[in-house]
């Protein structure tokens, strides 16, 4: 599945250019136009010619959406365990794969969350990262996104989750599958507290992420051209023999099918999100939510019994 999620860019112009000044030019992952790297970065990795939105890191996403200096990452030290002892014959064990992913990406998990502000509005932000393990949903990603929702409830912060994921992490089996239920429940707790949830779908958002929290937003914003769906294009073609028409499962396809509220280019996302949150928080619900808070307090009492488990062998 990884080949579907090949890191799109940057590709360097050619060997000669690479030798001369590797960081000066990048090639657009869609139209192949040569772009001046500094301008491309300043445009948040959007191609000036064709508008292609290349993938962003968590840091890029934070810079794009949050007010400068407002980001405070939480629980960045959570690490995956190997709940199944997943060691398939002839393939990398899960423990080895985690180590490889960390080495290749420089990241330690496929999501980060924390506090920040958007145009002065306090928010809880969680960002999934395609660069680590194809953004797959496992226990740590599930835990971080769940805590983002709970932070939203506890501090009455609007919650923004930016998704980019190949789906559930197979190597965690049913533990990964049940993160979908855990996150749907956490999103419901936020809904009960009447705090807005803005879900941003980026390329690609698939499988268990689409089938859980990512599509439960009060407002769902998709990035232009992003592939968004339940079954990925390859699965659909393999299973049904259907050849997908051009443009199937893009953000624009989902807009015309009534599945997302807005398709918004990167440069306009921050302003749009701020406006939506301000409007949704402008009603009277926020004053009337003591009951909702009590509901969550009761609901989360059991959660505090969760204990961190000791590190498992091999990949500390």
């Amino acid at each position: 599945m990884r080949n579907l999620f090949r890191r799109a860019l940057p590709l360097v112009s050619g060997e000669a250019a690479q030798e001369a000044a590797p960081e000066l030019w990048v090639r657009c992952g869609r139209c192949r136009e040569m772009l001046y790297a500094r301008e491309w970065e300043a445009a948040h990795r959007v191609c000036a010619k064709c508008g292609f939105h290349a993938r962003l890191t968590v840091a890029d996403r934070v810079a794009l959406l949050l007010d400068g200096g407002s980001w405070q990452e939480l629980d960045g030290s959570l690490r995956a365990t190997d709940p199944l002892g997943f060691a398939p014959p002839g393939r990398q064990s899960y423990a080895e794969k985690l180590a490889t992913e960390s080495r290749d990406s420089g990241q330690n998990e496929a999501a980060a969350y924390g506090r920040g502000s958007v145009d002065g509005i306090p928010v809880a932000l969680a960002v999934l990262d395609m660069g680590y393990f194809a953004g797959t949903l496992g226990a740590v990603v599930g835990e971080k996104v769940a805590r983002a929702f709970e932070l939203g409830v506890a501090e009455r912060r609007a919650v923004i989750v930016v998704s980019a994921s190949g789906g559930a992490r197979q190597q965690e089996g049913v533990v990964a599958l049940l993160q979908m239920a855990k996150l749907a429940a956490a999103a419901q707790a936020l809904a009960a507290a009447r705090v807005p949830f803005v879900s941003v779908l980026t390329d690609p958002t698939l499988g268990g992420v689409t089938a859980s929290f990512a599509t439960l937003g009060d407002c769902i914003i998709a990035e232009p051209g992003a592939v968004i769906g339940f079954a990925g294009p390859r699965i659909i073609e393999q299973t049904t023999g259907e050849k997908l028409p051009p443009g199937a499962q893009t953000a624009e396809f989902q807009l015309t099918h009534g599945m997302v509220d807005l398709v918004i280019a990167r440069r306009d996302q921050k302003a749009a999100i701020a406006r939506v949150i301000r409007l949704l928080m402008g009603g009277t619900a926020l004053q009337a939510s003591a009951a909702a808070r009590d509901h969550l307090t009761a609901a989360t009492n059991g959660a505090t019994t969760m204990q961190p488990v000791p590190a498992l062998q091999g990949f500390r």
């Binding site: 599945m1 690490r79 997943f86 197979q170 429940a185 689409t210 089938a211 299973t239 049904t240 961190p308």
Partner: protein, 324 residues
């Protein structure tokens, strides 16, 4: 017609011999034939028990998919004194891969929802092999809400290779339909008991499988993806499904050990397909027991406990960096 799985062959031979002896005994009941019959019967029971006690995960997958295994409708009809099947999602159509409606188990009115794979080719096609479309999940959603409205406990039965992955399903928002069910079940103010009766794969199973108690029949499987799909992700080749079945820990005993399910419902010796009515009795007993306990709990406590149960799933460790 008897369908024999590969690993059942030794039992099949014994059964053929027993049938021969039974026939001979019927025409001429000698004491020698009676002795032979008794010894063959004992042998057959012992062999069957031995085989089924040590099934490999991949063999369990075969049993879970056995064509003669009882399906949701068999349980709905067999366990319940009354069952009215309701149809349609009130928006698009009636998906026959999901069935449901109000029913009565041991005198108690409940709402039943489950996947139905079908048996003969024609029925299997009509039911899309138990892979529901979005309208199926939306029918389930309608029934869940109706259960809440009338205070009926919900019983769900999972038996699906996964949610249908076609272009039409994508156009109608398969992911959205699944997510809506997860969210609704998470806070539904009535008791919910979920049972995997056959194969319970991926979000397609989970979308009717969130509740207060999660049961599996002894030889059912529950997995993040079908072994074939997981193999094509991990090995890039679905032929490694047997190894994937091993690695995924998808059997009931493994999942109970990992504390990811609540209870195993025992199957008759030789599997549910060998004795459907025995299986139906076992499941009715287990469900009645679970429902008796859950209906005593106030709805608010039920929903809070359900939240806590799912909230604590997932092991991680803190490398001790940022305090929060």
């Amino acid at each position: 017609m008897t369908v024999l799985l590969d690993f059942e062959k030794p039992v099949g031979d014994l059964r053929t011999r027993l049938d021969e002896v039974e026939r001979a005994y019927a025409t001429e009941p000698t004491s020698d034939l009676e002795r032979q019959r008794a010894s063959l019967k004992a042998d057959l029971a012992a062999r069957t028990q031995a085989i089924y006690r040590s099934l490999t995960p991949w063999q369990t997958v075969q049993v879970a998919r056995h064509p003669h295994r009882p399906q949701t409708l068999d349980y709905a009809i067999g366990m319940c004194t009354e069952f009215v099947e309701f149809h349609g999602d009130r928006a698009f159509g009636d998906d026959r891969a999901i069935i449901g409606g109000p029913a009565r188990i041991n005198g108690r009115a409940v709402m039943i929802v489950g996947q139905q794979r079908g048996r003969e080719t024609r029925e299997r096609l009509e039911r899309n092999f138990g892979s529901p479309h979005p309208e199926g999940y939306r029918k389930a959603h309608r029934l869940f809400q109706m259960a809440a409205k009338f205070g009926l406990p919900v019983v769900t039965m999972m038996d699906t290779p996964g949610a249908s992955p076609g272009l039409a399903d994508e156009e109608r928002g398969q992911g959205w339909a699944l997510a809506a069910n997860l969210a609704t079940l998470a806070t539904l103010p009535v008791p919910i008991v979920c049972v995997v009766v056959g194969e319970g794969n991926s979000g397609g199973a989970l979308a009717i499988g969130v509740g207060d108690r999660f049961l599996m029949l002894e030889h059912a499987i529950f997995s993040v993806a079908s072994p074939e799909a997981a193999a094509s992700i991990v090995w890039k080749d679905s032929k490694h499904a047997p190894q994937a079945a091993d690695a995924l820990k998808l059997t009931a005993p493994d999942l109970l050990r990992l504390k990811l399910i609540d209870r195993i419902v025992p199957e008759p010796v030789g599997g549910a397909h060998g004795d459907p009515s025995g299986m139906i009795t076992n499941l009715r007993t287990a469900l009645s027991d679970e429902l008796d306990q859950l209906v005593a709990v106030p709805a608010a406590d039920l929903v809070a406990a359900r939240y806590a149960k799912y909230r604590r799933i997932g092991a991680w460790f803190d490398q001790g960096g940022t305090p929060s």
